[in-house]
């Protein structure tokens, strides 16, 4: 629990990390350097029992020992990774476990140095609140709530005072380019705008990582570019981003691409180093020219 509190304290300071490079020094307190944001060891998720068991994650059992190899994954601070795979490959299951929405059947999961497996319901809600920023495919905004209140919500749960909360929510909305839409309700916003509100809501608590499950799945190509550009900028300013997707167009933006097949990681390709800007901001002109949608999305 002490470790959790210490971890949460760091997560809280993370807000300044985005703008101030000096904060990076705080990460060096451990003699082995900054702990990875995600550290997953032999992760396994199964549904059902006996013969009807379904292995959503971890791959088929070894014919000799009967044990599944499980998923092992380490994500460094400041990385931007894309988890790819067709439907049924286990990427959503992985995302739910990484997001502390679901618990693994077996294996260890350390999030920002905290062993999530040992936390109770209340502590898990604290972790979700302060360590993780969710962006969902279907936006998942709270109905009938104006954008500003929407973005304030995680801060309200964290117990931040009203004035401070309002200030940070406005800043987050400004970051996603929606400063003029603060009083709009979800049904008054376009899909792209809704997703940008969701991104603002995800990053307002300055979480250790941004977890996006098919963030562009329901968006047109123009809005897709908008949202991905925001993700790129966030990563460039130091935020760890995990994208779950099945589109190559989205995966192109990541520094590292994982490919999942039948609940196992079959490929791990690094497209850009952990330190430094993501591919899209490294050489924007070349990146845009290679885009399969170069003709339609040139404007963004």
């Amino acid at each position: 629990m002490r470790q959790l509190l210490r971890g949460l304290g760091r997560g809280g300071e993370g807000g300044h990390r985005a703008g101030a490079p000096a904060a990076a020094a705080a990460e060096e307190e451990s003699p082995w350097g900054p702990s990875p944001v995600i550290e997953v060891r032999s992760l396994l998720k199964t549904y059902g029992h006996g013969d009807a068991v379904v292995r959503a994650l971890g791959g088929p059992p070894d014919p000799v020992t009967g044990d599944s190899p499980g998923v092992n994954l380490v994500v460094e601070q400041g990385d931007m990774i894309a988890v790819m795979g067709s439907s049924g490959s286990g990427k959503s299951t992985l995302m739910n476990i990484l997001g502390c929405l679901d618990v693994p059947t077996a294996g260890r999961y350390l999030l920002d140095g905290i062993d999530v497996g040992g936390l109770d319901e209340h502590q898990l809600s604290l972790v979700r609140n302060r360590k993780i920023g969710f962006v969902f495919q279907s936006f998942n905004l709270v109905p009938r709530t104006p954008a500003l209140a929407q973005v304030e919500l995680p801060l309200a749960y964290a117990g931040v005072k009203t004035a401070e909360r309002r200030r940070r929510a406005r800043a987050a909305l400004e970051l996603v380019g929606l400063a003029d839409r603060v009083d709009h309700r979800p049904n008054e916003l376009s899909g792209g705008q809704q997703q940008r509100v969701a991104v603002a809501r995800a990053l307002v608590t300055a979480p250790a990582m941004l977890l996006a499950d098919e963030p562009t799945g329901n968006l047109d190509s123009h809005s897709t570019e908008d949202v991905l550009a925001i993700m790129d900028r966030l990563n460039a300013s130091g935020r760890t981003v995990v994208l779950i997707t099945h589109e190559d167009e989205v995966a192109r933006h990541a520094k590292r691409v994982l490919r999942l097949v039948d609940g196992q990681i079959v490929a791990d390709i690094r497209q850009a180093p952990v330190d430094g800007p993501p591919p899209a901001l490294r050489d924007p002109a070349v990146f845009a020219a290679r885009s399969p949608h170069a003709l339609t999305s040139g404007g963004s």
């Binding site: 209340h122 609140n129 302060r130 969710f134 309200a156 749960y157 995800a202």
Partner: protein
Amino acid sequence: MNPFETLRFAFGGLAANKVRSGLTMLGVLIGVAAVIILLAVGNGSSQAVKDSIEKLGTNALTVSSGGGFGGTSTATSTKPLTVDDARALADPASAPDVESVAPEVTTSQSALYDGTSHTVNQVVGTYPAYFKASNSKVAKGDYFSADDVLNSRKVAVIGSTTATDLFGTASPVGKKIVIGGTPFTVVGVLETKGGTGFQDPDDTVIAPLPTVQNAFTGFSGGISQILVEAKSAGATTPAQNEITEVLMSQHGIKDSSALDFRVSSQASLLDTQASTNKTFTVLLGAVAAISLLVGGIGITNIMLVTVTERTREIGIRKAIGAPKGVILGQFLAESTLLSLVGGGLGVVGGLIGSRFTIVGIKPVIIPESVVGAFAIAVAIGLFFGSYPANRAASLRPIEALRHE
């Protein structure tokens, strides 16, 4: 999350479904208003009984002929009450707790004045002591005197209803009316007693005993009853015993279980009525309580629907870090708000409803019932809301998010 914010979320949640929230509140409103009004009606009717006890005079005892209920068979023969019996009761040596005694004969006659005819319910022939014992006061004119009784004068004191029916607004004092063919001079008009029973106590004519006997009932049949006034309200029980003893010796009865007369006090009669009223009030209260309970079940029902409908929203809130307590608090606040507003409006409705006369009874609000009904309504909101709220709070985020 401070309480103010929880409350704001709750308001938002309720405002999202105005008709549904309104109807649920209506359920609680009706429940609370019913409790307040029905208890007020019950209380009003027992208050009315209490008032009429005071009007009739708590010191009064009535001696009437015949045995107790169902006890007549044991009496060998029933002797009618006579004026002699009354005289014996007036003897202070044998009945020291008796203040005054008034023998009565009662009949019903039609009265006539200046072409106006009116059937008088009660034509009473009695002694002047009757007025005090029965708590009857004259508003205009005077009582008749013992002298009028001795001389069998044809004078009468009339009740207020009889007076208005015969004379309208004119003063009846000194006028002559014809009752059953006999002319009487009106000497006084009684004050209005008002009553709740079937019989109007103000529709009466009171005249000297021998006059009434002479004109209508005759002297042979004895008297209808004897009105006895005890010295004080506390002396009614010893007075009752003395009356029984005196009359037993008068009628030559040895066995106290075979009486041919009955002594009843007004107070005991009305006590019985008051306890009947209490049962009535409890029954009304129970009916109202059931409607309040039904209102509470309405809250549970609507909150369950709300929780199911907003499962996805709950999932979102949990995903962005809402702790269990906050979700629980939000839904509890919603259900409590429903019952609070419904209960508050119910109190207002109950207070307004109690201003009207309901089935002839003026409701008298019991302050405890107002506070109690409101408190119970709020408690019901908390209690019946806790199940749906708990269900919402215990949802697993992943399942809530997948919910369509």
